[in-house]
Subunit: 291 residues, 6 copies
């Protein structure tokens, strides 16, 4: 243990000791500086780790145990406060190192904008990749309040840079008219309000393809996940999101990376949001990370 590892803080339950041997890397992206309404997701990664203490290491859903997956929790990327551009650059560099060694990056946000540099790197590596995007919000804006780097723009960037036909959004229930119009015109796939049912229909079409999955926790109804910056009523249940994770696990897509973003613990004194998120992380580790 080097000196500064003493600061590294808590890790996700059963994280293995060595980065080098791990098949998957858990890492935090504690950034929320472009968030408009309610910031606080920078504390999401650590609270998800803390909540993981309450988890069983075995999943009855998948009949697998965390011992069966070799992963390393690398802590949070030390992003520079308030500087979105440099933060994204650092994430980009960080992910390049992970995928260079064919490891599975499992990111914890942080605001949704952090997925954008990750996706850039993933598309470099897997040009035929598809993106499964599970979210309450379309995130298809060109800009937000004059900023092109915003938590409302990442999916639009993906569409424009890597082809809208490679983007599959689920559970969307909020956005500007222009975003929904873009979704129709651009050729991307968008399922409104629901996740599990449309996902079951889409997955066979993606069979064999590398897939990156980005989950915004606010796809859940605020009843299930009040701890998020832009809570939106009318969402899905934790049960449905678990079902979606298991559908992907049981499909023929090859998941190459994933993230869960927008957990903002301060808005949830009951801690149910990080508790749920830590369970999703466990199921992703057990269901999506394959040798």
């Amino acid at each position: 243990m080097r000196f500064d590892e003493a600061y590294s803080g808590k890790v996700f339950i059963m994280s293995r000791p060595a980065y080098e041997d791990a098949d998957a890397i858990i890492y935090g992206m504690p950034m929320d500086w472009t968030v408009s309404f309610r910031p606080g997701s920078r504390f999401g990664p650590n609270r998800i780790r803390e909540a993981s203490i309450g988890l069983e290491e075995y999943s009855p859903y998948l009949d697998r145990h965390l011992e069966e997956v070799n992963y390393f929790d690398a802590g949070d990327i030390p992003l520079p406060f308030g500087n979105a551009e440099r933060s994204l650059e650092m994430i980009r560099d960080y992910i390049r190192q992970i995928v260079a060694k064919d490891k599975f990056p499992l990111g914890l946000g942080g605001e949704h904008l952090v997925s954008w540099p990750v996706l850039e790197v993933m598309f470099e590596k897997y040009p035929d990749m598809a993106v499964i995007h599970i979210d309450a919000h379309a995130d298809l804006r060109v800009e937000y309040e004059g900023e092109v780097l915003s938590h409302s723009t990442p999916i639009r960037k993906v569409c424009e840079n890597y082809g809208a036909e490679n983007v599959f959004s689920f559970g969307i229930r909020s956005g500007m008219r222009e975003e929904f119009q873009y979704a129709k015109d651009s050729g991307m796939y968008m399922a409104r309000y629901e996740v599990a049912k449309p996902l079951a229909e889409v997955l066979p079409k993606l069979a064999g393809r590398p897939v990156y999955v980005t989950i915004d926790i606010d796809v859940l109804d605020p009843a299930f996940a009040p701890g998020t910056g832009t809570a939106e009523a009318g969402g899905i249940s934790s049960k449905e999101l678990l079902e979606a994770i298991h559908l992907i696990a049981g499909s023929d897509v090859k998941v190459v990376g994933a993230d869960i973003v927008e957990v903002a613990p301060v808005y949830d004194p009951t801690e149910k949001t990080p508790i749920a998120a830590s369970k999703f992380v466990r199921e992703i580790l057990l269901g999506w990370v394959k040798k």
Copy 2:
């Protein structure tokens, strides 16, 4: 802007500048003095307005934008603390002014008793009106703790003064035996536990009639709306209430006014209750207010 407008406080997102031109008037009835268990709904209207900042102005459910509806948020009626009788009189006068100009009154409560003077005025204007009442509680008491003016009595008053056959209650899961007996004997309609399904059956029968809709937020399960005075387990989800609003929007009834009551923010540190209520207000504006 007159001097005292400087006090008017926040308004619902995209409220227009002029009362005169508006087709709908949003107004608050910050009264909770007959509430027995947990007061606090007097702060409901303002927190609903505050939460509206987090809303998109466009509804993907209805494919409409708030620009398409001309409404004015007139602030709260300055009700005298602790004086129920005078408060109801003031509400009555206030609504008379709104409906005199054929505007759509959209009230924010406040305890449920505030709906009673509104309904009196609405029946003056529309004698053939029906009332759609969405609530966890029957609100059919003759009195409560010796008081005839109580949050538990408004629907009984409507039945007795304007005909029980014009009252349609949905989602009811709590009340005295006498209230449920009255519901059976009086000729009113009452659907227990559910809202969307029975509403879909009832709406065709109301086609063409003027309808006033009163929504008590506690029809939602406390999972979705803990911020209310008499939270009652076993309720519906935000999704089902949205569905109900959209069923009414798509039906052939003519909605002439509406209210959402009993939002008591102090019991909900997660703010999910006003967040949900503000979305319901948006959908009502977009779906029910027609030129």
Copy 3:
């Protein structure tokens, strides 16, 4: 009123004045000393009583009124802090007195281990008894952190001492691999994730038998019951638990006792957990306690 009754504190709504005449006894088991993650359920019984103030005395689900059931709230058993062994002994003695007079014991927890001494006494009295266990967790561990007396072990003890074939678990979504394996091998019944549907299938097979029902509030999703020590995402709704209670009420089993455990109010500033639990208590009193 004797001197120390002045301390007895609040009681469940409409508790009758005399222990002797009562058909059912409500009692609290304010113990949480073997709880690992988040203690606090020792305050559960009193907050359930406090929340009962907000309940109607009539159930529209069962068309019964609390007047029709003669029950007495005997307060909390004065368990010695931090001493699990002696606490269990005291519970055992206490329940023996209740069942000696053929009264229905209705316990409020406290951690789930408190059900174990109750079940010992119930099996003494009703050797052909079946146990219906509604919970998120299997509670089938042999020990937990080296302790055989733990909140994770009570159902295993029942299986081993009274026959696994007499145990019927519902809603289970968390446990060690060994626990799920034991469930398969031992001959007990276990329904995962769901409660109402599998219960409807099992109940006819138990017709005529004496049944004890133990409900861990964490079977509910944290959306509905965040106030518990080991909240686990992906649970059932309050509606489904009400349905389960009503299925049992309408079945041909003879319920001889019940408990609701693991309500830990401090994790739920919205109070929705004790509010829901108090409603379940009412429905149990009205549906399961029969002369």
Copy 4:
């Protein structure tokens, strides 16, 4: 125990069993219907009782034990919700019964207006009585928002009806200019900002007189008592209020009754406000109630 005593709820620690024998009567006045800004003090009395569980029965300050005082906690007066006039009438009748038997009334509020009917009755009984008023607010308004029955008016009523020269206010740091002017012109005594020091000066002048003490918990800084309706920065510490209670206990005045009002627990998730108030009640019982 009579039937409805079963409802009586929790009592202050070590309350004796019989009203008849008691020298002091603790009673709650759960009224907050004239409160303008933040209601909730109707729950004050019960949370003070609940917090008393955490108290020692012995006071090292006074070297006395609660065994040495014979008091009875009579529960809350069942005031009619929302009806200020009838509530005050009921309080008046209630106190008349207490003082008719020469018992010491120790009231728990509720909003400050509840002290008014108590003081009316006390002056009937003790025409030469002085009032010690410890509060952040002058409470000297003639009316508030058009209501003469308001939480802002009780001390003015006392001055006008029983002589301003008999009123001694301490700790005042908020009010209208007219109230401070009235304090100067009317001949009453008012100490601003501080309590203990001016009280030490005033007490000798009141030697031998019957004195009623009314304490508004908001005299404390919000650091010490955030759970109140009109928290006002710049107040005294709990230590200074304890000192004031002990100064009165050690003086030659004859305290004939007292109250602590405006504890509104919902604004204080830390529970420090009822915890402090319950300690003040203990010290009042031990220091002021004399045979």
Copy 5:
């Protein structure tokens, strides 16, 4: 009222209707993007306004009434999320307009960095100005985590650009060794731990000079102001900060502008922090704004 004034939100109590006539302008700087530990002060300005509803308009400390000061609450400057540089530029422009008309700028933060552009403009206007800085933190860093624009650097910038001998810091109890060393070497004035006493000594030396006062709410102990981003134990009381404000009001300095920063309401469910801050704003208006 223009269209977008409908969005302007709530204002500080008794704000006058017209910007043009006002002697003082209240404005919000809702920025917190360089905050390292706990963001959230962007919501400070609005919660201070909201809390002002609970204030009296009269100050017994100063014997003045808000009617006697002509001020206008101009709402929040619409700062671009996440962009510190542009935000500071906008603040600079905004303040230039205010001081161009000889109005008193009274800013509400927001993180402390917002004071930097204000001070730049103030020194342009008043080259002989002194700065009174009341804070728990020295804010004398050259940079923070590599950023020169940080909430930890504003006072250093003032020292370097406008002369350390013009800076007078009070209440400082936290900082790096280098900051305390700089304070000694640079010729600035720094009083540790206390505010009122050293201020009383310093003020006579500043007689006749124009003075800008910047108050970081975290100078208060977390007991008095928990709602702030970097709460630091061992601070002063609200009483002492009021005393400091009154000392300045009674001195011979000419206050030309002021701000109160770092109110982050989300960390304070009791709302005592904005409640205290709104009182400080009232006392500043009444004591420092002079025709």
Copy 6:
């Protein structure tokens, strides 16, 4: 880093990497199973560590930097839930290892009973040791609710086993009459209500002696430390406790070990209690740990 170090969780800021080289060892004792009123202090140690992130590494009070002290945060002792006896045995063994190497043990509680086994070991090592006990409660009970192992008994045990004349208690404001009587009769020193002033008097008498200091966070008023199990109004400020720590640092006693106990974060949503405790830990490291 060994495998299970991956679980070790967060550490106090600037903890050094190696146990062997360290002069002081920080360790947690996450036990609260004998706590009667409000458990939760088992989470104290970790939240103190978490809050340390917000601290500066330099103390202006002592002009020292954490770099100057070599300490290692060894994490929490893995105490067996609910088993007080075994927990105390484990603590005893643990401390023996620390003092065998002449390291300074700095413990984080946990309930106050954890200090008892530490003190046993310290007296083995330093038979002429004195104990400075800073607390709201006397902790001089012989037993509590029949248990001799209780959070109310540790100081009594010290008096009886190692001589009452070696015990010096400060700030005591709560206890049974018997405890205060024992304090008088036994020859121990007890200062009521205050800490800094009596400590300044006592310290010279202890010059040259080895001293262990045990601090119960509830010596602070609940205004400063609401996050504790038995909050008691009328306590000292954070400022006074800092002053006490600095008095000891500047005295001629030789501090050989210390602990801070009873931080129960769940009762303090503002986090001010762990924030204050982490500052006390820093000052103890800087002021008391000497080579």
